[in-house]
């Protein structure tokens, strides 16, 4: 049946949808515009345009420090998410062993709870261990959220590789490890890249848990953004928000290029 025959949504529906779209997209658009404001306040429309707030942003020591922390932390989290997630996903996707469903459920656990509760729980656990506001503490917290996502993506990616290929590799003399590493994983590369990128972004943008676990010595960019918005109301926060969006976009575009590149390579 062609779409033309179906009842097209009436004008009321279109209007409502339009309103909904405007509601959804206006904050992001406004943030972009206000970040270039020349004024003192979060005024929209802005009195004029200037780059002063971006300049102020990059001149702010605390924020730049937090940026570096977030970038390094996110990279560490991405690495750990891969190192932990890939073998776990392989086991769940390929092997048959007692308790496999239980394992899968356990690994997805952190996704069931609100980040607020996880943040609180981690604070209560790490404080007595003096691990609050430390790299290990923050890394553990972020990994707890990132690993389930990485595992999920890798399970799909690995399941998509025909198991027969590993069987063929085994008959050719490859140990199960070699067969997995030389045959299945290279064919799951797009999944690996997606997992790494997602883990990076999850860590980089993570706000609530980090709020519980940062301190004067160590803070992340989203937390600084939160604090700044809480305390002040000048367009610096708009510039900072744009910085976060820009970095997230950059990662996504990079992944597109690398993953797209991989896909073309494997096609030849």
């Amino acid at each position: 049946m062609s779409r033309a025959g179906a009842r097209r949504p009436g004008p009321v529906l279109w209007l409502a949808a339009g309103f909904a779209f405007v509601l959804l997209l206006s904050p992001a658009c406004v943030v972009a515009i206000v970040s270039f404001s020349s004024g003192q306040f979060l005024a929209f429309p802005p009195p004029g345009f200037s780059l002063r707030w971006y300049a102020a942003l990059f001149a702010n020591q605390e924020i730049m420090q937090a940026l570096a922390t977030s970038a390094i932390l996110a990279s560490i989290v991405a690495a750990i998410a891969l190192l932990a997630g890939i073998p776990a996903a392989y086991a769940i996707a390929r092997l048959d062993f007692p308790g496999r469903a239980l394992l899968s459920g356990l690994l997805m656990g952190p996704l069931l709870l609100p980040t607020l509760v996880i943040g609180l729980a981690l604070l209560l656990t790490l404080q007595p261990l003096r691990l609050v506001a430390t790299w290990p503490g923050l890394a553990l917290a972020h990994c707890t959220i990132a690993v389930p996502f990485a595992v999920r993506i890798m399970i799909t990616a690995i399941s998509a590789v025909p198991p027969e290929l590993e069987a063929a590799a085994r008959t050719l003399g490859a140990s199960p490890f070699r067969a997995a590493v030389r045959v299945t994983l290279p064919l799951a590369t797009p999944g690996i890249i997606a997992s790494a990128a997602l883990a990076f972004l999850i860590s980089f943008d993570e706000t609530v848990i980090s709020l519980f676990l940062v301190g004067p010595r160590l803070s992340t960019l989203p937390v600084e953004l939160f604090r700044y918005t809480d305390n002040r109301s000048d367009p610096l926060v708009a510039a900072l928000s744009m910085l976060l969006i820009a970095i997230a976009l950059a990662v996504i575009l990079l992944v597109e290029r690398v993953a797209g590149l991989t896909r073309t390579l494997s096609r030849d």
């Binding site: 027969e164 063929a168 590799a169 008959t171 050719l172 003399g173 070699r178 030389r182 045959v183």
Partner: protein, 342 residues
């Protein structure tokens, strides 16, 4: 001379269902080519997988060259396997695919490259060494798969329905190539097929399998001419089956007609198979028949005959020119019948 490949009581069960492979035993000499023939689901592919080590046997033994491989993992069995779907590594070139088995054995680069070149030459694909599987036709992919399996100089070569994925025109040619290659290398080979023509044409020995059990293992001609069980008689060739009664040694009655048979079981109810290519038709003969249908097959013609005891299939040269409606006389030599106790 003890056999090169020996299966003894090989059994594989899946859950509580009847066994997929049921106490299978057979012997194969070195350099021979064995076909595992049977209908879908008969357990022939499972047997192949048991040989390769991709399945674990529940009971029985597999000996290759005197070595008990039953409990060994696939990577140490030194068997070359060509899968039905070829299972070529998509992210590697033909040369890299072929080299994979050699890499796993730690063979050094120079020798590896030499062996790869040699084996690709053997299958006629030297020009395509740097191509990826996606850039090759089905026939070319199959040759790469074959080359990959042979490069490791396997003790045993296992082929799973090697010709089924190929176009009909290619099949004959590839069949001959496989046979020539196998003879030249002297590699002991087992291949699985549901196509009896393929089995009869390629193999030195054919093992007919039904529901996990070995029905008969024999060279092709013996299998075709002297099927040992009703299943084999039904599965190989195009015999027509009749219910009959053995009245005396060498004598069997179907309906109202008494026929001579070369071998008969004990007197009593029997299943009689009449081989189409042994039926003789002419102006003179024992029984009156009428041709009711003619299926032209090129060199041969398949004739459906109405006989005093029932409908019968006969296979004769098309040049004989028998047509529907012809009334002829038919003679059934004693070796045209295979009789089994019912």
């Amino acid at each position: 001379m003890s056999a090169y490949l020996s299966l003894a009581g090989l059994t594989r069960r899946f859950g509580s269902a009847p066994p997929a492979v049921d106490r299978l035993s057979l012997d194969l000499d070195r350099g021979e080519l064995l076909a595992l023939l049977g209908p879908s689901g008969c357990g022939k592919t499972t047997t192949l997988r048991l040989l390769a080590g991709l399945e674990r046997a529940d009971a029985g033994r597999i000996l290759v060259g005197g070595r008990n491989v039953t409990d060994l993992p696939p990577e140490v069995r030194n068997m070359g396997v060509v899968f039905q779907s070829y299972a070529l590594f998509p992210h590697m070139t033909a040369a890299e695919n072929v080299a994979f088995g050699l890499e796993s054995r730690g063979i050094r680069r120079r020798e590896r490259e030499a062996r790869v070149a040699e084996v690709l030459e053997m299958v006629g694909l030297s020009a395509l060494a740097q191509r990826k599987p996606r850039q090759m036709s089905g026939g070319q992919q199959q040759r790469v798969a074959l080359a990959r399996a042979l490069a490791i100089r396997p003790d045993l070569l296992l082929l799973d329905e090697p010709l089924s994925a190929l176009d009909a025109q290619l099949r004959d040619g590839v069949r001959e190539e496989i046979r020539a290659l196998q003879r030249r290398l002297g590699t002991t080979t087992v291949f699985v097929t549901h196509d009896q023509a393929e089995a009869l044409a390629l193999a030195d020995l054919v093992a007919v399998i039904d529901r996990g059990r070995l029905e008969q293992i024999a060279p092709p001609e013996e299998l075709f001419e002297r099927p040992a069980t009703p299943f084999v008689a039904r599965f190989v060739g195009r015999s027509t089956a009749f219910a009959g009664v053995v009245e005396a040694p060498g004598r069997v009655r179907i309906g109202g007609t008494l026929l001579a048979a070369a071998e008969t079981p004990r007197p009593g109810p029997a299943e009689v198979f009449i081989r189409p290519h042994r039926v003789q038709l002419g102006a003179e003969g024992d029984l009156p028949v009428e041709v009711t249908l003619r299926t032209y097959e090129g060199a041969m013609a398949l004739l459906t005959l109405a006989t005093p005891f029932g409908t019968l299939l006969a296979e004769l040269p098309a040049a004989a020119g028998h047509r529907p409606g012809d009334r002829l006389r038919m003679t059934l030599p004693a070796d045209a019948l295979r009789v089994f106790a019912a």
